[in-house]
Structures are given as structure tokens and as C-alpha cells.
Symmetry: C2
Subunit: 184 residues, 2 copies
DNA sequence: TCGCACATGTAACGTGTTACATGATTAG
DNA sequence: CTAATCATGTAACACGTTACATGTGCGA
């Protein structure tokens, strides 16, 4: 999913500024899937406006930069929906944790333990966020809830595995390195 | 994880050509996490050689391009392992399926059903691949098994949810659009 | 008063993909 | 005979990030 599509998806059911779109994509409702930055959002929004897929309302503010609120147009809605008909790619997963785990036998126990703890913490936070969002979006179409429930369920399974098998990975880590590290 | 790191990870316990590295990253043991192409692998390998992190043995073959087998050096091993000590990023997930599901209420039932079926099929294939690899790598360190088991477990939960809740999403799809499509 | 949230935008840079060029062998 | 597999490599391109530039108002 490119940044333009992300913008259309967000604007589909709410108007927003570039700043807000970025917030939603890094901290809010869409942050689980994407993570776009200003450098890509602002140009994308300008292009979408040129193509007539969104409109912009400027709200001038003294001293501050003008607040530019974008709204999706009918054309934008249609084109976005049409794009969903095109063949989709399979999920892409990039996990540095998995790479680390794969080589845990060469790493000190303390490091592996910390990584496991951090991951569990982050997973928990993400699930809390998803569950909060589910509440917040309770007025939105049920498909939105479905996605949150699905995600939450996968997150639970993931956490559950770490809870029951995390220690196992720890015990496979390189104890000697850990001792050497402790001695230093 | 950049392509150089991927190469070092693969070469860590086996020699390989650029061609083989690509196969491993798109179809083999590493394909669940990454997907690198020739255009990035060959330059990366050359750079790693320049930096003394890998060595290369040329095997000339009549008519064919020379087969260049790369091996990791002690320096390469050390540097790779050291890189695992650096702070890691959280998992990155990009799912076009989730985006589609989020807007399923605007899409015809037939499309949503097909996407669900395809996803379930792909998930199943991935799990089969992971389980096969677990067998194949039974002589490798136990950490390797741990990663496969963890992945397999998450995959199972994912499949399980789709099996029990997939129809629900289908029923939220836009029936009228489906009928319109069927009429065409 | 220090830093953060708000708010927009550009230029340089990094990283990777796609498409092309080249060519033998082998399985269907 | 045609497509796929093996095998390497480059150049153009796409896409996105990081860092910079600019500036106000508010809360600790």
C-alpha cells in the first residue's frame, strides 16, 4: 500500500490535515499497518488534489502556517474502491526479533530475555490500543470491528506463545557469553 | 533488515551463490520474513566482499556465467552477531487484505469470499512450508526450531480465526453490488 | 524557559525493484 | 519447440525517509 492509497483510505470517512494523517498512521487507528512520514504525505496530498481525488480547504491562522484540511471527492471514493478490486499482495512481515531469535544461541541470555520482555510489552500495548480503537469506532461499519477483532485475536495467540515458550528461547541462549558479559 | 544483513544471515551457516540466496529469500527458509531481488543481492554481495565480510570462490563453467560461491569470514560472523546487539525495530506488517476487509461493506460478496479463500489457502501453504522446513533443519540449532514453532503457532491461530469468523466478514459485504455484478 | 504539539513543506539521500542484456541446459 | 531453471550483472526508476527550514502557543 503506497502513501496515496493510505491517504484516500483515511480520508474515506473523515476529513483531515496532512499532520493528522501522519498521526493516524503512526500512532492512531492505522498505525498497526503503516507508518508514513511527512516527506511522503504532503507531496501525495498535493498530487491527489491535482488529480481531483481530494479537495482542500485552507484555514488561515495568524502567525501559524495555514491549516489545510483535505476531503475526499466522489471520484476519489470511486477510484479508491476500484483499487480494492485489483489483485492484492500477500502480507509482508519484517521481523528483526525473529532474526535475533534465530541466532539466540550465539547471544547472551540477558539480551534475549530483554528482547522477549520488550516484545511482550509492545504486543500488550498494541492489543490494548486495538481494543481501545474498537470501542472508539463502535459507530463505524462492522467490517472495521471485524478487522480489529481479527487483529486482536492474532495478537493474543502471539502473546500466549511467548508467555508459555519464551523461557525456552532464553534457555537456548549462550550462557557463557552471558557470564562473560556479567564478569566485565 | 537490509539485504546485506540478510546475506550474512544466510551465509552464516551455509555457503551460497547470489542466485541461491535469492531463492532462499523468496521461496525457501527465509521467505516468510524477506523477499530480496537480484538487483539488490548482487551489489550487496560485492560490497560485503570488498569489506572483507565474505570471500568468493569462482567456479568457471563453459558457456555459462561463472558460478560465484560466497562464504562468510570470521570478521563477517563477528560483525553480523554484533549487529544483533543493536536496538531492534518492532515488526512491520503490511496487509492489503486488512485494508480490503476494512472496506468489505463496499465490496461485492464474491470478491470478499475469494480473497478470504485465497488467504486461507496461502496461510495453509505457508504453514506446510514452515513445518517442512522444521523437519529439514532438524540438525540445526534448537533456536531455529523455536522460530519455526512460534511462527507455526501464530499461523495456526490466524487460520483458525478465519475458519470460524470468515463467513462473518462475507456477510458484511455489499450484497447489492454482488447482485449487480452477477447480473452483468 | 525549555521543550513539545501544532503545522507545512523541500531537498538530499538511501534502498530496493523492474526491466533489460546474455546465454546454456533440461524437462515437458 | 517452448518454457523454466540456472547464473550474473547493470541502469533507470520508484518510493519513501531523514534532516532541514520556519514559526506560534502552551504547559511544566
Amino acid at each position: 500500500m503506497n502513501v496515496s492509497t493510505l491517504c484516500l483510505a483515511i480520508l474515506f470517512d473523515q476529513d483531515a490535515t496532512g499532520y493528522e494523517i501522519r498521526k493516524l498512521s503512526t500512532e492512531g487507528a492505522y498505525s498497526y499497518f503503516v507508518d508514513a512520514s511527512f516527506g511522503s504525505i504532503y507531496p501525495a496530498l498535493n498530487k491527489l488534489k491535482q488529480d481531483g481525488l481530494v479537495t482542500m480547504q485552507i484555514e488561515h491562522q495568524e502567525g501559524k502556517p495555514a491549516r489545510k484540511t483535505y476531503s475526499i471527492t466522489q471520484t476519489g471514493r470511486r477510484q479508491f474502491l476500484e483499487s480494492l478490486f485489483e489483485p492484492i499482495k500477500h502480507d509482508v512481515i519484517k521481523s528483526e526479533f525473529m532474526l535475533m531469535a534465530r541466532f539466540a544461541n550465539y547471544l547472551p541470555k540477558a539480551l534475549v530475555a530483554k528482547r522477549l520482555k520488550d516484545r511482550q510489552e509492545h504486543l500488550k500495548q498494541t492489543r490494548t490500543m486495538i481494543d481501545d480503537l474498537r470501542e472508539e469506532f463502535s459507530d463505524k461499519p462492522e467490517t472495521v470491528q471485524w478487522v480489529f477483532d481479527y487483529t486482536s485475536s492474532c495478537l493474543n495467540a502471539n502473546m500466549s506463545y511467548l508467555k508459555t515458550h519464551g523461557d525456552q528461547l532464553c534457555n537456548l541462549s549462550d550462557i557463557e557469553t552471558a557470564e562473560r558479559d556479567a564478569a566485565e
